[in-house]
């Protein structure tokens, strides 16, 4: 019995959290699979795999995207930020610190995505009001918190980032 024909791999050059990687991936591989399975960056989660929940949110050249809804080859030449890239020299990023201080998480599954959505918001708007914050995380589903402490964390994060 013959094995199914292997799919030819394609080279991808991508910067992830400031580190340049050259990888060979199947063209059908999703970005989230490349991050988790090839680079072992398992902080980016797969929640629904249907473009709904936002657990797989990463920054692609600074813009929040759902990494389950993009092929890895499409990230060729791009800069990706995942949750692992937030901490610097053992110090939590101000957004991470805010989520801890405000108890903005319970099970934590959605948290990496929420923090990256928060980071994109604060990169464009350092004084977001409640409406801006709700709009920024409308694509991130949390089934534990009821969002109140997430919004509180986002307010803390805005203060932290401003103060930093």
């Amino acid at each position: 019995m013959s094995m199914p024909e292997a799919i030819a791999k394609v080279p991808v050059k991508v910067s992830v959290n400031g580190q340049l990687h050259t990888l060979d991936v199947e063209p059908r591989m999703l970005l989230v699979e490349m991050l988790r399975e090839q680079l072992d960056l398992t902080g980016t989660h797969v929640g629904c795999d249907t473009t709904y929940c936002g657990a797989c949110t990463v920054l692609l050249n600074g813009a929040a995207v759902k990494s389950c809804t993009m092929f890895a080859v499409q990230a060729d030449g791009a800069e990706i930020t995942t949750v692992e890239g937030l901490e610097k020299d053992g110090q939590l990023h101000p957004v991470q610190k805010a989520f801890g201080d405000a108890y903005g998480l319970q099970c934590g599954y959605c948290t990496p995505g929420l923090m990256l959505s928060t980071l994109q918001l604060l990169s464009k708007n350092q004084q977001p009001d409640e409406k801006d914050m709700r709009k920024a995380i409308a694509g991130n589903t949390c089934r534990c918190t009821g969002y109140q402490n997430i919004l509180k964390a986002m307010r803390f994060a805005a203060q932290n980032v401003k103060g930093a």
Binding site: D49, T51, Y52, G54, L60, K66, F71, Q74, L121, A136
Partner: protein
């Protein structure tokens, strides 16, 4: 390239509809041609009252465009599609070429004078939007053609428009939507265009509803007649988003609310509107 790859090749724009469809095995293209690396395929420009949008222009870019803000109905649409992440990837050309019955752009653009430029190996042709969208998931594009530009005429002074889509949550398709673009002359509605979304195989132009409002003063009587005609024009199906009856009632309410906002905007008022969800 598409003619070489054969019938089962597909173009990939933002991928926010196509990739989910592929995961469900509703689409099984043998080849995908990624358009995202083509320089100059996105961007918004305006000259002589004509707005030109590159096919790969992301919803987020349209949402944040100062030029587009002059046509509020376009801003309503761009700023409300799904969520931030999807708006950062999804494109206007992809949305039109996909022709999903629940898509937003075809509804809004069918209330404006919109043309779609289609580019193939034999050159470019210009198709009116009403002829471009032919059926659910079916457009006038030939297999080896792509959308090269979306061209929209900016409405005259004294015009206002609004797009309202009702959704259960941000990332899902709307349950129903209504787009209203009108021109006022004092208290009388001089010209009006009304389109309904998610309640048929394509966006529905509610011509009898338009006729009920055109040339009439804005009053309770004309608003009721217009909403009633819009309800009658809707052809919804019962599904997990709601019963057909529910969607018809929703259409009536959305049309009335959209007219109210469009009239206020036509008078120069700044009114925020967009997709509505719980």
């Amino acid at each position: 390239m598409l003619s070489q790859l054969g019938d089962d090749a597909k173009l990939l724009a933002g991928g926010q509809s196509l990739i989910p469809l592929m995961k469900l095995r509703f689409a099984n293209p043998t080849h995908l041609v990624d358009l995202n690396f083509i320089d100059g395929s996105s961007g918004i420009s305006e000259a002589d009252g004509i707005l030109r949008l590159g096919p790969l222009t992301r919803h987020a870019e349209i949402e944040n465009s100062a030029v587009v803000a002059r046509v509020p109905i376009l801003h309503d649409c761009a700023g409300g599609i799904a969520d931030v992440q999807v708006r950062n990837r999804g494109t206007i050309g992809g949305s039109l070429a996909e022709a999903d019955p629940s898509g937003d752009w075809a509804v809004v653009l069918s209330t404006l004078a919109t043309q779609v430029r289609c580019l193939g190996k034999d050159g470019e042709r210009i198709v009116d939007l009403k002829d471009f969208i032919q059926d659910a998931y079916t457009t006038a594009l030939a297999h080896d053609e792509l959308v090269s530009e979306v061209v929209v005429k900016i409405p005259p002074k004294g015009s206002g428009g609004a797009y309202l889509a009702f959704k259960r949550a941000a990332p899902v398709y709307p349950t129903a939507s209504a787009a209203v673009q009108l021109t006022m002359n004092g208290d009388v509605c001089k010209e009006v265009s009304i389109a309904l979304g998610c309640v048929g195989l394509t966006a529905i132009k509610a011509e009898e509803a338009e006729a009920a409002l055109r040339g009439q003063p804005i009053s309770e009587k004309t608003l009721s007649a217009t909403a009633e005609a819009a309800r009658a024009a809707a052809d919804p199906q019962s599904d997990m988003r709601g019963s057909a009856d529910y969607k018809r009632r929703l259409i009536g309410a959305l049309v009335r609310r959209a007219i109210d906002i469009a009239v206020r905007r036509a008078r120069g008022e700044q009114v925020e509107a967009s997709h509505v969800y719980a």
